[in-house]
Symmetry: C2
Subunit: 207 residues, 2 copies
């Protein structure tokens, strides 16, 4: 059985939702950042990067959200979570998710994890000050050029949708006003009503 290692409030939620969407049999295992469990010897044996999410499969362990999402879509084709038989359409899905991981999530991470890229307190403050602007630019790009509606890729729900939803949860914490992005807000509200999303969030917040 698949085993998803996650921490509440992280991007692991995207894979958690996708596993629910796929109807997968899986166990969700919580890793506590408060006790630095992600850097424990036990967890580093699973993911030497010390990050969540990780997905334990019978073939081995996978990490990195875009890779895990595509794996879930390919492993459960009946759920139709990506256009698997169309390399161009699949690449569009992947390009969206790659933008989320390498640009949007990174811009967000400068609010609380500036120590990854700098060491001075003044730099952290400077980075935090930039987040509303950089995240606002990301959301403007998504709102104007990327989100087709009603789902990210148009009429069909894909693995882009839980990933966007997961990052948009952080919008207000990043001091970006959801009212400025009505199409993203609509998408977020549509996602929040899905059974898969409710189930994943309930599980992550249950303890």
């Amino acid at each position: 059985m698949l085993k998803l290692y996650y921490t509440p409030g992280t991007c692991a939620l995207a894979s958690h939702i996708a596993l629910e969407d796929a109807g997968a049999a899986f166990e969700a295992v919580r890793i506590s950042f408060k006790t630095n469990e992600q850097n424990s010897p036990e967890y580093l044996a699973i993911n030497p990067k010390g990050r969540v999410p990780s997905l334990v499969t019978d073939r081995g362990i996978l990490t990195e959200t875009p890779a895990m999402l595509a794996f879930i879509a390919q492993s459960f084709p009946a759920a139709q979570l990506a256009p698997l038989d169309d390399p161009f359409a699949f690449a569009e899905v992947q390009a969206f998710n790659s933008y989320l991981c390498s640009t949007v999530h990174i811009a967000h991470a400068h609010r609380m994890r500036g120590y990854r890229w700098a060491s001075e307190e003044t730099s952290f403050v400077d980075m935090q000050r930039m987040v509303p602007k950089s995240m606002g630019a990301c959301y403007r790009m998504i709102e104007q050029n990327m989100l087709r509606g009603p789902w990210v890729m148009g009429e069909r729900y894909t693995i882009c949708d839980p990933y966007l939803f997961t990052l948009v949860q952080w919008m207000e914490g990043d001091s970006v006003n959801p009212a400025d992005f009505p199409r993203i807000r609509d998408h977020f509200e549509r996602m929040a009503e899905r059974a898969s999303v409710r189930k994943a969030i309930a599980e992550e917040t249950s303890r």
Copy 2:
């Protein structure tokens, strides 16, 4: 025919090499960062993010290196650039490339593009000071846990290889000592001998 928009010295080289590996018919179009061509109205119509690479196809335009690399592998299956029929092995390829785009390339970008995440000169200096450490940690992770050898995924060359090669070109500029990473250095030298790599580099440096 495919059209690859690239700038010399950028991660676009990974896709350029992969297109050569695939035996694809394509045109390579140079975008000049010196004249800020990536933000010209003409180029923003191709890629509103104002970044390279972009790949123009007969179906539309693709961006984001990991997505483009997977697209090239899927579009030219005879070249066997990824384990296309094995979702787990394909996800391993994607996880590696996702790590390169969202962790390694990002750590590197703090050397010269700190303005994306901060605004003070002191922060840029602080970020630059961190690059040898953060990039060293990335290369240690790759050397010890990810690069199987002789190619990234083991016996078979994949779309991970040109991407790793492309970032490793920047190693000395990032003040990381290649001698500390003999397996990565061996991989780099093995890559540099490939006809596809020589051809892509020759084209990018020809003018």
